[in-house]
């Protein structure tokens, strides 16, 4: 009688412990978000909205226009994805569909190693190699531009993009490939018209995850984009210095007086950034969910 009773208690304790640990992870995320709100929300009362979403970020003169920063982040990130998408999908197609077995075994771990390079190292590389290269090729006054940042970011988001896209291609049943080939399609036509479209939702997810990683990246971007908070609306903006939201927070947080309007404004940027990444991740999750629901043979 006693023995099973004790066992059930052990079971109960362990189960409760696991449950608490599991919920606490969610709890921490929630607490971080609440903290972000507590520190950032006052901005929306202290600074008029016209100022907050104005075109000039110049805290010394109480100008907290976040628009240049938001657009700076958007410009760098979107350019990065435009560069990374074709490279990443092409690499994934090569690794999964074309490369012989030994090359695949060699390439996959190497791509994963890419993900492990610390971003500050990439920043170094960007500053000393890419930036001078950009300056010389464009004849620009400085090589620290949005484009330089986009190149580095593209490189950083490639490992995620490639491995998720490759998984998506891997999940395409062999029967689709067989059907394509048996119709008299070439290998290339089969890949391009059957396999890649069938993996479309997975590739979209890969892009979203790459995007989420790129938009939150700070160190490398801060090192190579020149950090001038100007509105990137002219045509040549891509090849001029720009400042992202993340770089602004990282650069200014150390010197700001705690509790000041500037301090709150930096947190407000954090909220905006959080919302943007949240929406991107949500979109990625929804695509995955939709794919699961369509299911079928997969």
């Amino acid at each position: 009688m006693n023995q099973p009773q004790r066992f059930r208690w052990a079971e109960f304790t362990i189960e409760a412990l696991i449950r608490v640990l599991g919920f606490s992870t969610i709890g921490f995320v929630l607490l971080i978000f609440l903290f972000l709100l507590r520190e950032g929300l006052p901005t929306f009362f202290e600074v008029p909205l016209g100022n907050l979403f104005g075109t000039r970020w110049y805290p010394t003169f109480d100008l907290f226009g976040t628009l240049p920063l938001i657009l700076g982040s958007a410009l760098v990130t979107l350019t990065a994805i435009v560069i990374a998408l074709p490279l990443g999908v092409a690499t994934a197609v090569f690794v999964r569909e074309v490369a012989p077995g030994w090359a695949r075994e060699l390439l996959k771990p190497m791509i994963e190693v890419l993900a492990g390079i610390p971003s500050v190292v990439l920043g170094f590389f960007g500053m000393t190699v890419i930036a001078p290269l950009v300056r010389q090729t464009l004849g620009a006054p400085t090589g620290l531009t949005a484009f330089t940042g986009a190149l580095i970011l593209a490189y950083m988001s490639l490992p995620t993009l490639i491995s998720v896209a490759e998984d998506a291609l891997d999940a395409v049943p062999k029967s689709y490939r067989d059907a394509g080939l048996a119709m008299g399609a070439t290998q290339w036509q089969t890949i391009w018209r059957v396999v890649v479209p069938a993996a479309r939702s997975g590739i979209v997810t890969a892009v979203m995850l790459g995007l989420g990683r790129a938009i939150g990246e700070t160190m490398a971007v801060m090192m190579v984009t020149g950090n001038a908070a100007r509105l990137p609306l002219t045509l040549d903006s891509l090849f001029r210095p720009v400042r992202t939201m993340t770089a602004t927070i990282a650069a200014e947080m150390g010197e700001v007086a705690q509790g000041s309007v500037h301090y709150h404004a930096l947190f407000a940027i954090g909220i905006i950034l959080f919302l943007m990444t949240f929406l991107i991740n949500l979109a990625a999750a929804l695509t995955i969910f939709q794919k699961r629901r369509r299911g079928g043979l997969r």
Partner: protein, 250 residues
């Protein structure tokens, strides 16, 4: 007239000899059924006829397969063109996860047929040919995966005939289908043989007896007996064939 002639065909997966000296004539505008127990080589033989085995690494072919007098394993053979002439329907219905229309239009688009003729006409003719037109004509934009399995398999047949092949290979096309869908596919095959040469692999001997003109019986990689279906099922010459078709072996 023989459309396809296999001559001393051997096939190896690595060191394993999956087909041993297969010689067979496949008659034009007739249905030839290949029967035998699982693993006897009938599917492997079928896939030799459109060189789909080329996609499996570590395999090797010896011997000859003549299609209209041309050896399809001769060096310099255009495999892509061969597979256009010799279409294939697989065991599990495998429509692409696209619309019904795009599935049927896939082949014509890939081969550039749509530049010469109206794509919609090709699609309609192919769907009619596969006895699916009446069921899908009102909604060609629907997802192919939303069709029933039987409809999906007929869609795969429509997709195969859209490029106007000369031969259609069917690899156990009814094994995933229920009896009603199966009868529909068999009915369809009888109509298709007016225009196409059909080779079907089946594990179902009644199906072979019902639908085919010629039957080949495979056993452990060998072609034990090949004869007109009527003769095969009424007076088989080999004891092994008789044991198999009466259910005593296999």
């Amino acid at each position: 007239m023989a459309k396809i002639i296999a001559e001393r065909l051997n096939f190896y997966y690595g060191d394993f000899r999956a087909l041993a000296d297969i010689s067979m004539h496949i008659e034009e505008y007739q249905i030839t059924a290949l029967i035998g127990p699982s693993g006897c080589g009938k599917s492997t033989f079928l896939r030799c006829l459109d060189r789909m085995n080329d996609t499996i690494p570590g395999t090797r072919v010896e011997g000859k397969v003549w299609l209209d007098g041309q050896d399809i394993y001769a060096p310099g053979t255009d495999v892509v063109d061969l597979r256009r002439r010799v279409g294939m329907v697989f065991q599990r219905p495998n429509p692409f996860p696209q619309t019904v229309f795009d599935n049927v239009a896939f082949g014509p688009r890939v081969l550039g047929l749509h530049k010469k003729e109206n794509l919609a006409d090709i699609v309609e003719a192919s769907l009619r040919g596969a006895a699916l037109w009446d069921e899908v004509k009102d909604n060609l934009k629907q997802d192919a995966l939303s069709l029933s399995l039987g409809q999906q398999q007929r869609l795969c047949i429509a997709r195969a005939i859209a490029v106007r092949p000369e031969v259609i290979l069917m690899d156990e096309p009814c094994s995933a289908l229920d009896p009603i869908d199966t009868l529909e596919i068999e009915e369809l095959m009888r109509r298709l043989k007016v225009d196409y040469t059909i080779v079907i692999v089946t594990h179902n001997m009644q199906q072979a007896a019902r639908v085919s003109d010629w039957t080949g019986f495979f056993w452990l990689g060998r072609l034990v007996e090949f004869a007109a279906t009527q003769d095969m099922f009424t007076k088989p010459t080999h004891e092994l064939t008789e044991s198999y078709i009466t259910g005593r072996a296999g």
